[in-house]
Amino acid sequence: MRILGLVTLAFCFVFGGHTHASQRLMIAAAADLRFALDDILTIYRSTHPNAQIEVVYGSSGKMTTQILNGAPYDVFFSADISFPERLYREGFAMTKPSVYAVGRIVLWSKRHDASSMTLHDLLQPSIRRVAIAQPAHAPYGLRAKEALMELGLWEEIQPKLVFGENIAHTAQMVESKAADVGIIALSLALFPALATHGYHLIDEQLHNPLTQGYVVTRYGRNNALAQDFAAFMTGQDARAIMEEFGFILPEFDD
């Protein structure tokens, strides 16, 4: 009987006190936005106190696969516009992909002074583990690979490479010193907790641009908040935060 009482108590805890928000918004976002978008959402939430807004971060490729498999995301901010373009082509997006920012990759380390390093230094024997994001589905990983290939370092660096699930995971691998150096997003290197250590900005001529695009998904087609938030992302408040995190912003003609 005591067990029954415990179970009842657990049920009350689990099912009691549900809150129902009038509006819901589920955002899928590339992991490079993790800190910038959190800041932007703080502002947005304060102007939309009744809305329940959730954000899920991951690699753009993985988010795309999830959307193709029916994930309930209203709007998707990708680190590479090619993913939203694919969604649009396949009928999973309601709006044409539009650019909201351009990202950059940097060398970053907690063990070494990355600001005085170049990609060539990664071959030094003192550097044993280099973290990049999974090039197959994480745009920042693919750009890191392109830059290393452009310099002819890719083959030689292979044995040192470790792969993060997405760019935030990659940054975490370097932050925890599990990897000596990493190629991460500038937006993450500028996050206050990481900005204590310097970075080296990788020449953007070495890789394709990280043109970041968003779409309102088919799932979010009837969600007015999705459109509203997308508009907010290109507004002044959001732009100021995005610039703080090192994103290069396109000119908007409005």
């Binding site: 067990i3 179970v7 657990a10 049920f11 805890f13 689990v14 099912f15 589920m26 992991a31 993790r34 959730e54 899920v56 971060y57 991951g58 999830q66 498999n69 029916g70 994930a71 309930p72 699930e165 997405n166 935030a168 995971h169 940054a171 975490q172 932050e175 907790a193 990481l194």
Partner: protein
């Protein structure tokens, strides 16, 4: 000291809900299944027993992958549901619930099986010869005799469900309030380099896991049922 965020509480609630549902379903499915498995030897029984035990050795990602294929909008089950006007089950609570039931099945069936084998058929046959009906036999004979087995089965399935990660990540994504359970919340906190929050939740799960095992060993000693 411990300060959990609202998002953490959402995850805790969801995890407990998943655990309770899974345990309930597993006791309902597991009891007849374990009884049948314990009631004789045949190649079919051995085959079923092996299938039940699969999640112990299989990587959870294999289970998650198959579930995603089956339950997603393009999958057999998910696709059929869609064509009937329902929604598919990927990235839903029902989806991770189905995953958890499979994932924790051996942890419910094994202790029950052992308990049923231990009491043998005698008590039930005697009760039947005295005129007790099937339900009566179950509630007044089997259940009291195998109470320890049921406690262990319920506790183990509940605890094992709380520790689920790989399958849920694949079938559930990490959607707050729906599929973002504690284990995934910890992963997310670590990725966000929010180590303090990850520590808190990890410590919570660690203490809980210890408590559960402590309960199980205590029960085992009292009832002499099984070793997990």
């Amino acid at each position: 000291m411990i300060e959990l965020s609202p998002a953490d509480w959402v995850a805790i609630r969801l995890t407990l809900k998943l655990g309770l549902y899974t345990t309930g379903i597993l006791l309902l499915i597991g009891t007849p299944l374990a009884w049948w498995l314990a009631s004789g030897r045949s190649p079919l029984r051995t085959a079923v027993q092996s299938v039940v035990a699969l999640p112990i050795v299989l990587p959870p990602t294999v289970l998650g992958f198959y579930l995603l294929i089956l339950l997603g909008p393009r999958g057999w089950i998910g696709g059929t549901l869609e064509s009937m006007g329902f929604t598919h089950l990927a990235f839903t609570f029902t989806g991770i619930l189905i995953g958890s039931v499979f994932y924790s099945l051996p942890f419910a069936v094994q202790p029950l099986y052992q308990a049923f084998v231990a009491i043998g058929r005698r008590p039930v046959e005697v009760a039947a010869s005295l005129g007790a009906g099937p339900l009566d036999r179950f509630f007044t004979v089997i259940l009291p005799l195998t109470r320890g087995g049921f406690i262990v089965a319920a506790t183990l399935s509940f605890a094992h469900t709380l520790g689920e990660f790989g399958a849920i990540l694949m079938i559930g994504g990490s959607i707050p309030g729906r599929t973002k359970v504690l284990s995934i919340m910890i992963y997310d906190h670590a990725e966000a380099m929010n180590y303090a929050a990850a520590h808190q939740l990890s410590l919570l799960l660690l203490s809980f896991a210890f408590l559960v095992l402590f309960i199980i060993y205590t029960v085992n000693r009292r009832f002499d049922v099984v070793r997990p």
